[in-house]
């Protein structure tokens, strides 16, 4: 199986503070990998390193086949990224947003036009082509933002709390899009505070104080921690955190 993310003893220090403390894991092609942890556990720092935005203090990391130390520009070109805070340009139309982000990722002009039609059809957004993004309902924006993030068919897409504040029905439709992307072979690396969403992942890691304290399928984690659901697993682990600084 192709490894899309390989991380070995990855560490990041800020002065005396070790934000990420020797984490190691691998993620396979087409896998949905849940990256959980309490606020302040080090998730964002780890994710920034994997996206080529922050240089590790020590340890190795390869994303989409590129070294995060020496090939961070290549890493950025070959991943997709979406968060609730960073998504679309509100003052551009739907098609303009698709064109903007596809252009940034270097998708050829002809291909953009063709794939835009395809995408709008698949999402059922054909009639919204010329709508300003700011006037779309939140749920539609999130779906469009995700589709834009994987428009250039990256090997892996990073989703940072993609469903925060979204209504329950749309949240589930969003996960159906994630499944479709994974079926097409795109690896999905996702953080969430909704523990029911942790159950939808193939495997889940839980960070505590900069370390990965647990990593397995939801089913195995529930067995291991003798828990009924992922919420209980999370509570058992996160309660052990020593960092008071959250």
């Amino acid at each position: 199986m192709e490894k899309v993310i390989v991380v070995e003893n990855l560490t990041k220090k800020f002065g005396n503070f070790t934000a990420v403390d020797h984490i190691s894991f691998e993620v396979e092609r087409g896998e949905i990998f849940g990256f959980l942890g309490a606020n302040g556990a080090g998730k964002t720092t780890a994710m920034r390193m994997l996206c080529g935005l922050s240089i590790p203090t020590s340890g190795k990391g390869f994303v989409a086949g590129f070294d995060i130390h020496t090939q961070s520009e290549q890493v950025k070109k070959n991943i997709g990224y979406m968060s609730q805070k960073f998504a679309l340009s509100e003052d551009l139309k739907v098609w303009e947003n698709i064109r903007l982000f596809a252009g940034i990722y270097g998708v050829p002009e002809k291909k953009i036009a063709l794939k835009t039609d395809e995408l709008l059809k698949r999402l059922g957004f054909e009639s919204e082509r010329d709508t300003l993004v700011k006037s779309l309902p939140l749920g539609w924006k999130q779906k469009l933002a995700f589709s834009v993030a994987i428009f250039h068919e990256p090997k892996v897409v990073f989703l940072d709390e993609p469903t925060g504040g979204v209504d329950p029905a749309t949240r589930r439709q969003f996960w159906e899009l994630i499944y479709q992307a994974a079926d097409r072979g795109i690896t999905v690396f996702v953080t969430t505070h909704y523990m029911d969403e942790a159950e939808y992942c193939d495997r889940v890691s839980i960070m505590v104080d900069g370390r990965i304290d647990a990593l397995d399928s939801p089913k195995n984690l529930k067995n291991e921690f003798n828990a009924n659901n992922m919420d209980e697993v999370f509570h058992q682990l996160a309660r052990k955190a020593k960092r008071v600084d959250r």
Binding site: N39, L138, G165, P168, R172, Y179, H193, A241
Partner: protein
């Protein structure tokens, strides 16, 4: 007064509140009461109108029509009175980033003509958790600490009503639990709390809730009553192939709706004569194995989806 007042005046009373921004109707004809000492939750997704409602009740925004009374005062005519009596924590962190923890708290105490010492008892439980960092600038605090400071600042003048707009958004499940136990303690001190949240699982921690979507209340009641009024049979179903199961369940003619819920799918059923055995046979025909089907009690999230689809 001689007569016993069984129903004292509510802490918050709203009647037919409406507010539009251009063509967008943010609030449509909202009416509700919050009793003294109640924890009342406004529960719904982003863009439902929660913040607009909070801003009207805290006198920061004028409604287009309707009236609102907070702690006995009209939000338009007596807005100054209200500002002295309520505490407000907006969704976006809005303390002074360049002041330290202690300076922020001191500032708010002074603005309200009081001192930290005078009301220390009220904020003690919360403030003590951040007191070791009292010389740190607010802008340098972590999310959870900012939230505790914001809450301390909103409480320092001993408000009778506390408005918390999405205090737990983006907060991890463990910290959210801690936050709610702080609210329980404030309630015991007699403070009325209006709190909004997009997390449906927090509904059960409120005395009463309003489910809000597209500027309208779908329902106002206790969480227990809302669950009781669900009105459909609800099943939890699982098998070895969950994504195929979702499709097959939706294609079944008895299915009214079907959604993924963690490691199971929840299915609402049309027919009162429904038998689990029939569904099991149907799924076996579709090739599913390790099938588990059981009737379950709905949660608030089930109710929200049911109500919002009507």
């Amino acid at each position: 007064m001689e007569e016993q007042n069984i129903n004292p005046a509510p802490s918050i009373h709203c009647e037919s509140l409406s507010k539009s921004y251009g063509k967008v109707e943010a609030l449509k004809n909202i009416s509700f009461n919050v009793e003294k000492g109640e924890i009342f939750g406004i529960i719904g997704p982003d863009g439902a109108g929660k913040t607009t409602l909070f801003r009207i009740l805290t006198t920061l925004l004028l409604a287009d029509s309707g009236t609102a009374i907070v702690d006995g005062f009209d939000v338009v005519k007596n807005y100054r009175e209200i500002r002295n009596r309520v505490g407000y924590v907006p969704g976006r962190f809005s303390l002074y980033q360049d002041l330290t923890v202690e300076e922020n708290l001191n500032f708010f105490a002074t603005v309200f003509n009081t001192s930290i010492a005078e009301n220390y008892e009220l904020i003690k439980d919360i403030y003590q958790q951040i007191e070791p960092f009292k010389t740190r600038r607010a802008g340098k605090l972590s999310g959870g600490m900012k939230q505790k400071l914001a809450l301390s600042c909103a409480l320092i003048h001993k408000p009778s009503v506390l408005f918390l707009d999405e205090p737990t958004t983006g907060v991890d499940p463990v910290s959210r639990k801690e936050f709610w136990s702080m609210l329980k303690k404030l309630k015991e001190q007699g403070i009325t709390i209006l709190v909004s949240t997009p997390y449906m699982d927090e509904a059960s921690l409120c005395d009463r809730i309003a489910l809000i979507q597209n500027g309208q209340f779908l329902k106002i009641d206790t969480p227990q009553n809302i669950v009781k009024q669900f009105g459909n049979a609800l099943l939890a179903v699982r098998s070895d192939s969950m994504s195929k199961l979702l499709k097959d369940l939706r294609e079944n003619e008895l299915t009214k709706s079907c959604f993924a819920f963690g490691d199971k799918h929840h299915v609402t059923i049309q027919d009162s004569a429904f038998k689990i055995q029939h569904l099991k046979e149907y799924l076996e025909q579709k090739g599913h194995t390790s099938i588990e089907i059981e009737f379950i009690e709905p949660g608030i999230e089930d109710c929200f989806m049911e109500l919002s689809q009507r």
